[in-house]
């Protein structure tokens, strides 16, 4: 009997099958980009140096109790008011900093019983062990937002001329820095540092009491 040649398989639909698989993987791939609040922890310091005395008016205390209630400067406060309160405290500029300069860029009310200078203003935060993490992050977020608001204001005051189209100058500058991470832009970095220095982030956290 004559050997019959095997019929050739039609490979025309191969592309379709491959496309199907490709689209499946395209859809299921999520190139995750995690985002979050970046904070630095204080290093452990064993030296027994007497901590400098901080005057009460330069300290903005935020307490969160186990029922997730906020106590700000000895008064109960809602979370939505925290940002504004922190901004007013940081921006007060009622006195002089260590070097004896007054805060000429502050737009606050210059009250005598609030912070002297953004250099001196410290936000102190303390929470209970039973506080939920969600509340803790919300409070952190509001406090960081207060700093970001003020830095944004200063950045647009100083550098708006370089970024005439940008709505948020500070955010644009940070984005630019992110993009140029392989080719360092000294001028840009210096500007960002200048803005950061005007409102240095002094956010201290006390350890919750053990009980």
């Amino acid at each position: 009997m004559a050997k019959r040649a095997a019929p050739e398989v039609n490979a025309g639909s191969m592309a379709d099958i491959a496309f199907l698989l490709l689209i499946f993987f395209l859809v299921t791939t999520t190139i995750e980009k995690d985002k979050g609040l970046l904070r630095s922890l204080p290093p452990i310091d064993d030296t027994e140096v007497e901590p400098p005395i901080i005057r009460q008016k330069n300290l903005f205390t935020v307490l969160i109790n186990r029922n997730n209630q906020l106590l700000v400067e000895d008064e109960q406060m809602e979370l939505k008011d925290l940002r504004q309160a922190a901004i007013e405290f940081l921006d007060n500029g009622g006195g002089e900093n260590q070097a004896g300069e007054t805060c000429d860029y502050c737009q606050g009310k210059r009250l005598d019983d609030s912070s002297d200078h953004p250099d001196k203003a410290i936000i102190s935060m303390k929470h209970d062990r039973e506080t939920t993490y969600e509340k803790y992050i919300e409070v952190q977020n509001e406090l960081v937002a207060a700093y970001n608001y003020l830095r944004e204001r200063e950045a647009s005051r100083l550098y708006k001329k370089y970024y005439p189209d940008a709505e948020f100058v500070y955010a644009t500058m940070l984005e630019e820095k992110e993009k140029n991470q392989f080719s360092k832009d000294e001028v840009l970095n210096e500007r960002i540092e200048t803005v950061k220095k005007l409102f240095p982030m002094k956010l201290s956290e006390a350890e919750p009491d053990k009980n």
Binding site: A11, G12, F19, L26, K35, P42, E130, Y133
Partner: protein, 153 residues
């Protein structure tokens, strides 16, 4: 007639699609390789809190620590929030050695820039987080990122 007329009669030859599957397969393999389903399977509930003042995280220099209540398949570990590192539950005092170990596995030039990514369930007690932070201070890994969902308003 002119010489050029002759060429008219031939129709355009059909473009061979024989190599199309190869191209598509190449793309397919790329995506198959690039897809990371998940690094470590989570043994805890992990609903992140939301925030809007967020910064991007650089993945290459990050060590992740998870915390939260054990999820329903891992009920035998109790209902108290636990710390998960890679694929196992660890105790608070094991955080420091685990983190140091993970840092030493990183690329040398990134070791000094390491960021600890804290993926903590929003219902966890903040006390557990501050315990973790104490351990991180002991391990001298001071850069922490509280990973959060971006709030959309």
């Amino acid at each position: 007639m002119s010489k050029f007329r002759k060429k008219d009669k031939g129709e355009l030859p059909a473009i061979s699609t024989a190599s199309l599957p190869d191209i598509v397969f190449m793309l397919l393999f790329f995506f198959m390789v690039a897809t990371v389903m998940r690094d470590s399977s989570l043994m805890i509930e992990n609903i992140l809190p939301s925030a809007d003042q967020v910064e991007k995280l650089k993945k290459d220099r990050t060590v992740f620590i998870f915390a939260g209540k054990p999820s329903s398949q891992y009920k035998q570990f109790g209902t108290e929030p636990r710390i998960q590192f890679n694929d196992a539950f660890i105790a608070v005092e094991d955080v420091k050695p685990s983190v140091l170990q993970a840092i030493s596995e990183l690329n040398e030039e990134l070791q000094s820039k390491v960021v600890i990514g804290l993926k903590v369930d929003k219902k966890t007690n903040a006390g557990l987080v501050s315990d973790i932070k104490q351990e991180l201070r002991k391990a001298n890994a001071l850069k922490v990122m509280y990973i959060a969902n971006v709030k959309t308003e």
